[in-house]
């Protein structure tokens, strides 16, 4: 880590740390009540207790499994269907209008029908997450394929490639940056929808922890769950960026800066 980087971190942390310290002092001195807005020490204590009992790990594992499976399904479907509609004019005319129409439905509005169709347990949750991930990945892939530089495709043709060869050597590398960006926004939506899915009825998961905290009046466990959500989301995005960085080394702009 270089000096400028460290300074950036310190600057960024100044405001939250100052607020945290101020709140801690306010609660300890009795200026403010800490029941609905517990101070940092209380949050740390709750997080420690949840972790020590293994409860936190169970919730994290449940949530992450749902995100991973839902993201996998949604990203795969979005990539494949986006590829097909991007590559074939016929497929685009046939499918894209319907997909765009479905996209106009707010994803949360699918919850009741998913529960009716797929039951209250895992399947409906995964379907909701997959649906949320599907749209950005599909749109990213479709527009990326349509945006491939015709001039580079011509280079491929002049040097003797066609069909699959062009696909693998020109189209695929050309769409990678947009595709990866769409995976990142898809992952973000995956975390959004896992909360919705777990709020609609779950016995474990961070969303359950949120709901449980609300019903038990435990602001501290709600806040801990929120913070853990933020950390997991950021960490997953970081993993995605790290995994895909070698593929994008050639790019002019460093879009993957966190």
């Amino acid at each position: 880590m270089n000096w400028g980087n460290l300074r950036g971190w310190l600057t960024a942390l100044a405001v939250p740390v100052a607020l945290g310290v101020a709140w801690e002092v306010a609660v300890r001195t009795g200026i403010a009540p800490g029941r609905l807005m517990p101070p940092p020490s209380r949050l740390a204590h709750t997080a420690g207790a949840l972790a020590a009992s293994g409860e936190l790990q169970t919730h994290v594992a449940a949530t992450m499994t749902r995100v991973a499976i839902g993201f996998g399904i949604g990203a795969f479907a979005g990539t494949v269907i986006g590829m097909v509609t991007g590559a074939s004019e016929t497929a685009r005319r046939l499918l894209d209008p319907s997909i765009q129409a479905l996209r106009a439905i707010p994803s949360i509005a699918w919850v009741p029908i998913f529960i009716l169709w797929l039951g209250i347990f895992e399947t409906s949750k995964l379907a909701l997450i997959a649906l949320g991930v599907f749209f950005p990945v599909y749109l990213g892939m479709l527009s990326a394929i349509q945006g491939v530089d015709r001039k580079l495709v011509e280079v491929g043709r002049v040097f003797g490639f066609s069909g699959i060869g062009i696909m693998l050597r020109i189209t695929w590398p050309a769409v990678l940056p947009t595709w990866i960006a769409s995976l990142r926004s898809g992952l973000g939506l995956g975390f959004m929808f896992v909360v919705a899915a777990e709020l609609m009825g779950a016995s474990e998961g961070l969303g359950y922890l949120l709901l449980d905290g609300q019903q038990m009046g435990r602001a501290d466990s709600i806040l801990v769950a929120m913070i853990v959500f933020a950390l997991l989301g950021k960490a997953s995005d970081g993993v995605l960026v790290a995994l895909t960085r070698p593929l994008l080394r050639w790019q002019d702009t460093v879009r993957s800066r966190l």
Partner: protein
């Protein structure tokens, strides 16, 4: 060796624009033919048809008497822009042009060409790290790695400054002397045509067709400072004037100002 025959070539686009009409060009083996003309005279269309990137509406393009129906392994091209693949290193970009060559030989040629184009040691760099002139050198190397019988050049140096352009002319001629491809170079630059070509074909616009073809008899290596060079250059300029005079007479209203001065 290889002769390129363009015979009765015509191209009318779907919107009714007639870009080319009844073009006849014969390029003998190892010859450099410059296609000279202003914008809108169908030069680029001619090259795209020859490269097999578009289909002609009329006429045939034949190599050694055999008509070609699309892209052809014997035909290679350098475009107006370098068009390097940004996700491949410089070395791999050059190798991209040689898919039919066995790998060890391809690697050897990449190394050779990198040296020839003055970019030895740049093989592992990305295209974005190169200047425009260096990128166009790589594009030339990519086009020549497969030892094509026919090399098409579409105003390949028009975006470069005069110094870079002159050095790329030298490079192109050196590689040509070694590999002897037949070269078809499209340009709007009289100096480029006179310096490079064995023959100059002056085109006339709307629709694009051959106005006049002339042989450049100057010995190589050519010296731009001789009076023979000057005379030849003036002859070409005169041919362009005549093509514009015809244009004026037919009342198209374009080309009244020579863009070549």
């Amino acid at each position: 060796m290889t002769t390129l025959a363009i015979d009765g070539l015509g191209k009318t686009y779907a919107d009714g624009t007639e870009a080319l009409r009844d073009m006849h060009i014969m390029a003998r083996s190892g010859e450099i033919v410059a296609i000279l003309g202003g914008s809108g005279c169908g030069k680029t269309t001619l090259l795209r048809l020859t490269a097999g990137l578009d289909q002609p509406s009329a006429g045939v393009i034949a190599i050694d008497g055999r008509p070609i129906g699309g892209t052809h392994p014997a035909i290679s091209a350098v475009f107006q822009e370098p068009r390097l693949l940004p996700w491949l290193t410089v070395g791999r970009n050059i190798a991209f042009g040689g898919r039919r060559i066995a790998k060890p030989e391809r690697q050897r040629r990449v190394g050779d060409l990198l040296e020839r184009i003055g970019l030895a040691g740049y093989g592992a760099r990305w295209p974005k790290d190169l200047s425009g002139g260096q990128q166009q050198r790589v594009a030339i190397a990519r086009a020549l790695i497969g030892h094509p019988a026919i090399l098409l050049l579409d105003e390949p140096f028009s975006a470069l400054d005069a110094f870079t352009r002159a050095s790329l002319h030298e490079l192109l001629l050196a590689l040509w002397q070694e590999l002897r491809p037949t070269i078809l170079v499209v340009t709007h630059d009289v100096d480029e045509a006179v310096f490079l070509a064995d023959r100059v074909v002056v085109m006339r616009p709307r629709p694009g067709r051959v106005h006049e073809a002339m042989t450049i008899g100057l010995p190589r290596p050519r010296n731009k400072l001789t009076s023979e060079y000057d005379i030849t250059r003036r002859n070409v300029l005169r041919a362009i004037d005549r093509s514009l005079a015809v244009d004026r007479a037919t009342g198209s209203g374009f080309g009244t100002v020579s863009p070549w001065v």
